[in-house]
Symmetry: C2
Subunit: 451 residues, 2 copies
């Protein structure tokens, strides 16, 4: 059996390794456009924060280690087309040589790319993106050579926020701009306000509600021109306005795309072509709360889907569960965590959400060093099923969210969750964990008919 | 309706407050033997660590605040007997005056007491216990006046370990002794070893496997005499060998006791007498994994049971779920967490447990400052249902355990848990959270038939 994999990052290499472990008799061929394999993209902002560290620190496992495992790894090989009738992938090398890889089973693990808005000047020098390791290297060498005093960031998502922290930690002034009016529109307003205050306290200038019309580049740096006369000059502009799935190759081959143009897959990671699988940031997933297909590219899912695709291709299919969209990030001294649906997402999914926000403490009242923690929790009015949760605080937010994520996977009601025996000791929590306090308030809101 | 409550700590005062909120027309009378109400006993070791803090910092809510709420609070009133036929409690005041409280409903919330082993000399001066606020005050004033250089601790449970940390932080040398051969026998051995190494690295001398025969007291301090010639001299001895439920009052009145002499209760906190309820450390609970009655006195349960008893007495009964026995504690730089059953407890409950221990990291490999974290997870061989988990590490152990606790409440299998979408970001976790790595290993162990 000959397996071809397009893309050598989390999903692709997880699959490649697992196939070799499952079935040493299978041939595995991996095509990778760049020369980097299996790197920790999520770690790039923290690496960029530290001038002394090499970007290669982020390589989780080297190409040589994979090759030693018997995986045929073709670096600098870009897949150009999939001939589904003849079951082969056509590609070209960095030298322009045309290559062809026949397959019995194909895994598309092409990931996602930075999405750049269509603005005049967006491709000018001094406009940077961060997605691949080569982007990270580019940013680091730009920082080292330019030594900027002020960087603008387009976008206020979690990559943008992590990069704001990284740049501030290098002594660089940061201004953030986005067209939409709200910081983190999927967060409960009270929690987003906590994050906004944290950013402002660290000197980050926030400019929401500014549609950008053009970017101008000169020897002095860049100038961002927004509506209503907005002007902002900086040494450079980081464009962190989200990502899009790399699904064009699949689409051109007639493979069905789904939500947000991600490749449509089932619980065994099969595409609409029975010989072709897709996994990672290029593929969709089922949301465990809405039971609808979503595209939420995150690292754990990519790794898990890579393994599941490998098992399925090896003839040992095991369905993957859906995702809760659990995401955490750190922004300066704050931990920010979210799982499941926001209120707006819940409404869009057809629920009638009842939502509360509580403020509690990270530690018992008499234990030194505690700090405020905010919990947002929402449930469906009729069924009382928990739909999602968000937590923000200087400590204890990131790991707490996992308890709510587990509850989402089993469709727990808030009444059931309120009964759970969560951990208490003064250094870690009040007697009633903030999540239980939130559950109690949510039960009251459900009973009172309040929203 | 006249409600009488015996005991003014977590369970008793939670109930008293809730009754007044639910039913302002109900009379609530609370008898308390000491003069302290509603204090955070769990916080005492941390208070003792800091000579500058008053023990009164640990009072969660003052007697005056409760009285303002219309609660009739009788401090220095000890309940002596319950006349179930006439529905009244007989007691005496600190001055020896006999008092009588008729009730329509009675809540017994008498808590637990420090258990002292029967050893000659155990009641000598210089032998201290820690259970009530007055014990804490006694220890603090003893430390201040005696200024000890060396304290022995009898017992190695979590109170003993928290006190070891508190004393070491005050510059006092600590020696710990216990008759049994193992530190924390309910923990997986590999995790207990991590804790033992931490204690030893902080200079705590551990003497397990030493049955004590006598304690001698002199002007120089105390001497602990163990079997086989064991001798240990110290300025004082803290006896932290566990607690027993304060159930004698109930037993004498003919109320049924259950496991470990705790008062037997149902899911509405009713005792065998339909007019009498029990809640808190004096009462038993159902274990959600073994479905057997257990006595695991912990603060969250006491508060929750107090509320539930109040609701039931107010004619609005809501069953409480069982407990997972979730417990966390800090010992020096380590977080230690446990939920559900240990391997031995699982075997005793009739399961056929398969158990694994993994070592992972608290943060992503390339993120600075991470440290090792150990996870123990066990499941039933036949059903694959998770039976319990334990986590030890310098960070991220305490809050992680909640995800496993929630899984226990819904009887999740390890296969289902492995599919949960847990949080990942480099500052907080590897891509595969250590709990998922543990689940993966446990699935392999289940498949392989290994133990």
């Amino acid at each position: 059996m000959k397996i071809v994999i397009i893309g050598a990052d989390a999903a692709g290499m997880s699959a490649a390794s697992r196939i070799r472990r499952n079935r040493p008799d299978f041939e595995v061929h991996v095509l990778e456009r760049t020369t980097d394999v299996s790197f920790s993209a999520c770690n790039m902002p923290y690496n960029i924060a530290d001038p002394s560290r090499s970007m290669d620190d982020l390589i989780v496992r080297s190409a040589a280690a994979f090759q030693k495992q018997g995986i045929h790894l073709y670096l600098g090989h870009e897949a150009l087309s999939i001939d589904r009738a003849r079951r082969k992938v056509e590609g070209k090398t960095v030298d322009g040589k045309i290559v062809s890889f026949p397959y019995d089973r194909l895994l598309i693990a092409t990931g996602a790319s930075a999405k750049k808005p269509r603005i005049p000047g967006i491709d000018a020098p001094g406009v940077l993106v961060l997605r691949h390791l080569e982007d990270g290297r580019g940013i680091k060498s730009w920082l080292a050579s330019r030594n900027p005093g002020h960087v603008a960031i387009l976008g206020m998502g979690y990559i943008a926020l992590e990069m704001a922290e990284a740049l501030v930690s290098r002594g660089i002034r940061v201004s953030m701009i986005k067209p939409g009016p709200l910081l983190l529109p999927d967060m409960a307003r009270q929690l987003a306000q906590v994050i906004q205050s944290e950013l402002e306290s660290k000197g980050v200038a926030l400019h929401p509600g500014v549609p950008i019309e053009a970017i101008e580049h000169s020897a002095d740096g860049i100038q961002v021109m927004g509506q209503e006369g907005f002007r902002l000059s900086a040494d450079g502009l980081l464009c962190a306005t989200g990502v899009i799935p790399n699904s064009a190759l699949a689409a051109t081959a007639g493979i069905r795309l789904g939500v947000q143009n991600a490749i449509e897959t089932d619980a065994l990671l099969r595409t609409s072509d029975p010989f072709i699988y897709a996994a990672g940031d290029c593929a969709d997933a089922l949301h465990i709360v809405s039971r609808k297909k979503v595209w939420i590219p995150l690292a754990l899912r990519a790794n898990r889907a890579g393994w599941a695709a490998a098992d399925a291709m090896c003839g040992n299919p095991k369905a993957v569960d859906g995702i809760a969209g659990t995401a955490v990030f750190k922004v300066f001294d704050l931990e920010v965590a979210k799982t499941g649906l926001s209120r707006k997402e819940a409404e869009q999914a057809g629920f009638d959400p009842v939502e509360i926000v509580i403020e509690s403490r990270s530690r018992a009242h008499a234990y030194p060093g505690g700090c405020p923690i905010w919990v947002n929790l929402l449930a469906d009015r009729e069924s009382a099923m928990i739909l999602g949760g968000q937590i923000v605080g200087k400590e204890g937010a990131a790991h707490r969210i996992n308890a709510i994520a587990v509850a989402l996977h089993v469709g727990m009601t808030v009444f059931q969750f309120y009964q759970t025996d969560l951990a208490y000791a003064p250094p870690f929590s009040p007697v009633w964990d903030p999540m239980l306090t939130a559950a109690n308030q949510l039960m009251k809101a459900l009973a009172g008919g309040a929203a």
